[in-house]
């Protein structure tokens, strides 16, 4: 018994030490970005305590590329995708959860296929589609392939299925149309799912890179990630101070949001049952 307690205690200490070590390693890139961003570039590889502070990197980075426009583009993109996803996935999930229509099983399997075969790997053919439609280099072209999300449909369908039938029927008896039932009964009950899904979707599309890189080629459409890459890759070599400043600027909204809402974030995942 004592020996066991002993090993338990040693184990706990090891676990704690390991956790701290991991946390330290995991925060390092962010910590480094902060260091490099507030010191002159001569100190970007020298960590001396008395290094002078500066805000110049932020000013320079901000002026070196149209980040305001990139922010706007990303914001429009993320909003557009999320809105479309919420609407489309809700409708489809409702159909799958509560309507028995011809071909439903097959349709559901075909939807689930997109869980694995994501638009990210179909870049060549999707590019061709966009260029045939004449919408290459537009913000909708970045968003379109992602708007119908199998993940969203699947999650919401699972949730809608847990809504008691009595509630549904009660609403219908009062003369509500299927859409009204959806809005009044199902959607409010699935709120945590919407929050959790929304958070995942926002952070995914805020940071998505390869497809936007391919499909955009002008300032008025490029999202932050692509703008950042063009800004970072210059013939003149890498200036980490500027890149760090730009990194912090571009991810500041998401970082602050997470700092403020981290508890709610985890809880919404819990309630959403994404686990």
């Amino acid at each position: 018994m004592n020996a066991r307690l002993q090993t338990n205690r040693v184990g706990a200490v090891l676990e704690r030490a390991g956790a701290w070590l991991l946390a330290f390693l995991w925060i390092l890139p962010l910590a480094y970005a902060m260091w490099a961003a507030i010191h002159p570039s001569a100190y970007s590889a020298h960590f001396t305590l008395n290094a002078p502070l500066t805000s110049e990197n932020f000013v320079k980075a901000w002026n070196a590329a149209p980040f305001a426009r990139y922010f706007l583009n990303t914001f429009m993109l993320v909003t557009m995708i999320l809105t479309a996803q919420l609407v489309l996935c809700t409708l489809a999930a409702y159909a799958f959860a509560r309507f028995r229509f011809y071909g439903r099983e097959l349709a559901f399997v075909l939807v689930l296929l997109q869980l694995m075969i994501m638009p990210d790997v179909l870049i060549v053919e999707n590019y061709r589609t966009m260029s045939a439609a004449g919408i290459v280099d537009t913000i909708p072209a970045i968003g379109l392939p992602y708007m119908a999300s199998a993940f969203g449909i699947f999650l919401l369908r699972q949730t809608f299925k847990t809504v008691p039938n009595e509630l549904d029927e009660a609403a219908r008896i009062e003369g509500a149309s299927p859409l009204q039932v959806l809005l009044k009964v199902y959607v409010p009950l699935a709120k945590p799912i919407y929050v959790a899904y929304g958070l995942v979707s926002i952070s995914y599309h805020w940071n998505n890179f390869l497809w936007p890189l391919i499909i955009t080629n002008s300032v008025s459409t490029r999202p932050l990630t692509v703008g950042l890459q063009i800004f970072a890759s210059s013939d003149q070599g890498i200036d980490w101070s500027l890149i760090a400043a730009a990194t912090l600027m571009t991810s500041a909204p998401l970082l602050t949001a997470f700092l403020l809402f981290q508890r709610q974030f985890v809880q919404s995942f819990m309630r959403a049952g994404i686990r």
Binding site: A64, S131, N217, S218, Q236, G237
Partner: protein, 424 residues
């Protein structure tokens, strides 16, 4: 040089002469990420040109990197609205011809003055602009490779800080003195020749010095497995493996200037386009020199040319020629070179008062010009990206020691020959 007069007195003449009838708008694709200082320079030029040439409007479109601009131009072409003018890599010439995207300048250059203008550039730059007896590109934003050295490090190693290694043997000898070892660790390397991104370009700095060519003018044949090419690669590999004055493995292009500033390397090879960057950031006195010679001397050129796209009306192409001539006039070429660090593309630009004054104050700027005498065309063939990748892979394999220089170049040549099969 009659056209020169018309440029100098442009405003007056343009008012006097019957200007191009209605307003002509030229779309002009330019490879730069928006917002930087270069955008402002180009905007300024466009505004000045419009002032001097009423009736012509320049619509500059800043498309990002060269790669982005090429993609955008080709996509626009396929959708039926090609740009009128674009600045794209000189090495994309064959790609643009194969895609049936561009039109040669020659039929549009009718007057003697026009023909003289086409001959006013450094021949080295024209090598990448002409094929099959036609001129497809006009040099504008061009560069070469030069060698930067840290004068403090030279002093500390007992070398003359004002004299750079002039040939391959000296580079090795200096490098050995400059490499600082403590135990198994090296705190300062002798030299770094970057080998990521576009290793083939830096490699041409070695092959040219070894008097070897990598491809024919038609862009249908490569000579990667010729003995002189293999020797050049062996020299590069030996800098790391035998002489141990260069880090092992591939060296990242993007971090090489930082390595130089951090004194991790005493000598670096990089583009002339880095001059301003080094001038601002190097915390020590530095020198700029031509690449060291061996059986010959020289460097490849690099950078972008003006291209004319197809499907332009006669009126538009006349306006386009006018604009390109204006942009490459000696004063502009000099101004452009001073402001950006790119090499002024024609000899008479270096005779302008502004350029003379600049070079007097900053002699390093003239090194690129002096080296142009020895410059050669950058590697460019049909299916260019693939062929250069074959060479790049071979170079990286040799530098990593997974293939011998012979084997690496033999494989690269075989692959290139396979790719180019269908273009002969």
């Amino acid at each position: 040089m009659k056209w020169l007069a018309s440029l100098v007195g442009g405003a007056v003449l343009a008012l006097a002469s019957p200007a191009v009838a209605a307003d002509v708008e030229l779309s002009f694709y330019y490879p730069v990420a928006v917002g930087g200082p270069i955008t402002k320079i180009i905007d300024g030029y466009a505004a000045d040109f419009e002032k001097e040439n009423p009736g012509i409007k320049i619509k500059a479109i800043y498309a990002g990197t060269y790669q982005d601009t090429l993609v955008k131009a080709l996509t626009a072409l396929k959708s039926g609205e090609p740009p009128d003018i674009a600045v794209l890599l000189s090495t994309d010439m064959f790609t643009l011809i194969d895609e049936d995207a561009v039109t040669p300048f020659d039929p549009l250059l009718t007057s003697d003055a026009d023909k003289a203008w086409a001959k006013s550039f450094y021949p080295a730059f024209m090598e990448n602009s002409q094929t099959g007896g036609k001129t497809w590109g006009i040099p504008f934003q061009r560069s070469t490779i030069v060698m930067y050295w840290n004068k403090d490090a030279f002093k500390a190693a007992g070398l003359n800080p004002d004299k750079a290694p002039d040939n391959w043997d000296e580079l090795v000898a200096y490098g050995q003195k400059l490499t600082k070892r403590d135990g198994s660790n090296v705190s300062q390397w002798g030299v770094e020749i970057p080998s990521t991104g576009f290793p083939y370009w830096l490699f041409q700095g070695l092959t040219t010095a070894n008097d070897a060519r990598l491809m024919n003018d038609a862009g249908t044949e490569t000579y990667f497995d010729k003995p002189a090419v293999i020797d050049a690669l062996r020299y590069w590999v030996d800098l790391s493996r035998k002489e141990k004055i260069q880090p092992l493995g591939t060296i990242e292009w993007g971090t090489t200037p930082k390595d130089f500033f951090e004194r991790k390397t005493a000598i670096m090879w990089t583009t002339t386009g880095n001059l301003t960057n080094v001038k601002t950031n190097a915390p020590f006195p530095f020198g700029v020199a031509m690449l060291p010679a061996h059986n010959g001397r020289g460097s490849p050129t690099g950078g972008g040319n003006f291209y004319l796209f197809k499907k332009m009306t006669a009126e538009k192409s006349a306006a386009a020629i006018k604009f390109i001539k204006w942009m490459t006039a000696p004063e502009r070429a000099a101004d452009w070179g001073i402001k950006t660090g790119y090499v002024a593309v024609r000899p008479d630009a270096w005779d302008t008062p502004a350029m003379k004054q600049y070079v007097a104050g900053f002699p390093a700027a003239a090194v690129a010009r002096d080296q142009l005498k020895y410059a050669v065309a950058e590697l460019s063939t049909h299916d260019n990206q693939r062929v250069t990748k074959a060479l790049n892979d071979g170079l990286q394999a040799a530098l990593n020691g997974t293939k011998t220089p012979e084997q690496a170049m033999k494989d690269a040549q075989q692959e290139a020959a396979r790719i180019l099969r269908s273009y002969k």
